[in-house]
């Protein structure tokens, strides 16, 4: 039974997390850190990498142990595995850069409560081989990081007029402070979602128009 659900590794295993099932823009998972720490590019990058590391390690371990974890206690086991790796990351960031550690604050530890990681462990890692899982998680992690960077760059650009701390617009620019504050996070993410919905609708219209034309010719 379990063997049948295992998928082979394809390019799609990796790419699916980047765009088609992007955890943030499509699945709307793990929104809290997405909104909370993306007020600058550096924070967004650090958070994205930390989450990717936790996702990669914990899903790999879940995939490795998938035959040994009893079904009844699987969620609890996954959470303990995730919490272990988050503790590792927490101490790691503390050791590498105190500045980033203070900027991210409790949100590093809150990676535990990121529903994306538990979701991947349950939906993918518990049914697939370690190698497949690692490839898929890497794609998901990179997709998550890209989404964070999308938000972080827009918010830093508009809110402070800088990118990675380097001024972009020159002296005359009046920063939109609101973009760095909580409402800005909601607005920017909403705007990104609008943009993607618009692109998708255009593609769909194009497709139905093509199909309609083909249908006319067939008749």
């Amino acid at each position: 039974m379990a063997a049948n659900t295992e998928k082979p590794i394809t390019l799609d295993t990796f790419l699916i997390g980047l765009w088609r099932e992007n955890p943030v823009f499509v699945m709307l998972l793990g929104m809290c850190p997405v909104l909370a720490v993306t007020n600058s590019v550096v924070n967004a990058l650090a958070m994205g990498l930390a989450t990717t590391f936790v996702l990669l390690c914990s899903t790999a371990l879940v995939a490795l142990l998938r035959r040994h974890i009893p079904k009844e206690v699987r969620i609890a086991s996954y959470i303990v595995i995730i919490a272990t790796f988050v503790t590792v990351v927490d101490y790691l960031i503390h050791a590498i850069s105190l500045e980033i550690y203070q900027a991210l604050g409790a949100f590093i530890q809150l990676i535990v409560a990121n529903c994306m990681i538990l979701g991947r462990a349950e939906a993918f890692a518990s049914r697939n081989r370690v190698s497949t899982t690692v490839v898929n998680s890497l794609g998901m992690g990179i997709g998550f990081t890209i989404a964070l960077l999308c938000l972080g760059s827009v918010r830093e650009l508009l809110g402070a007029g800088t990118l990675l701390g380097i001024p972009v617009f020159g002296e005359g620019f009046e920063p939109w402070i609101i973009m760095l504050l909580p409402p800005g996070g909601f607005f920017v993410l909403g705007a990104w979602l609008l943009l993607f919905a618009w692109v998708k609708e255009r593609q769909l219209k194009q497709k139905t128009a093509d199909a309609g034309e083909a249908g006319v010719h067939a008749r």
Binding site: L28, L29, M31, C32, P33, L35, A36, I75, A76, I79, V80, A83, T84, V86, T87, D90, Y91, A106, Q109, L110, V112, A113, N114, C115, L118, I178, L181, P182, P183, G184, G185, F186, F187, L189, G190, L193, L194, A197, W198, E201
Partner: protein, 196 residues
């Protein structure tokens, strides 16, 4: 108001630094279960209850861990406590109100991964609150969560009747709404200095 007074801690957690709209904790249920006011209110109550239980247990556990110098186990211990508390609430609701149990659906077990709850436990540890302070803090956070999710549900019920462009329906519109609510809550920011 003194920064350590219980009134201040309550107001701070509930309104000034509202967990959902200012600290971005618990966004998933805010977007997921805010379709109807009644469901949103029940969800808010369940979450607030779990917050209270887990925050009190987390305080006790933290004292225990500090005594034995086991701080590195804090996160794992907290999340285990929260998971058990959620299980408890789930069984209670299933027993006493099956319709409510069905209405909340998948979002009930997902309270475990609601970062607002872990957030309360972690923040109170970071602030080094005493027992009564952390109790009030978790009550305030729960009240704040209920306020935010019910307001959001009210707005979305009204929005059902409005003519929204097709591409903006769903998540994008909810996020814009949350942004406007969050703007409104920023008006409270002057009440006692931010301590995020």
């Amino acid at each position: 108001m003194h920064a350590d007074s219980l009134t201040y801690i309550f107001l701070n957690a509930a309104i000034i630094n509202n967990f959902v709209l200012a600290l971005f904790l618990g966004i998933c249920p805010l977007l997921g279960v805010s379709g109807k006011i009644s469901t949103a209110f029940s969800m808010g109550l369940a979450t607030a209850f779990v917050m209270l239980i887990s925050s009190v247990s987390a305080w006790l556990i933290n004292e225990f861990l500090l005594y034995f110098n086991l701080e590195f186990l804090r996160l794992i211990a907290y999340i285990a406590v929260i998971a058990s508390a959620v299980q408890l609430v789930e069984m209670t609701i299933k027993k006493f109100s099956p319709p409510l149990y069905r209405a909340l659906g998948i979002f009930l077990p997902l309270i475990t991964t609601n970062c607002a709850i872990l957030g309360v436990a972690l923040f109170q540890t970071n602030y080094e609150y005493s027992f009564s302070q952390s109790l009030v803090y978790s009550l305030g956070a729960g009240a704040g969560f209920i306020i935010a999710i019910v307001l959001m549900a009210g707005l979305r019920e009204k929005l059902e009747l409005a003519d929204v462009p097709a591409i903006a329906r769903g998540a994008a519109m909810s996020l814009m709404l949350a942004g406007i609510l969050s703007l409104a809550f920023m008006g409270f920011a002057g009440l006692g200095g931010s301590t995020a």
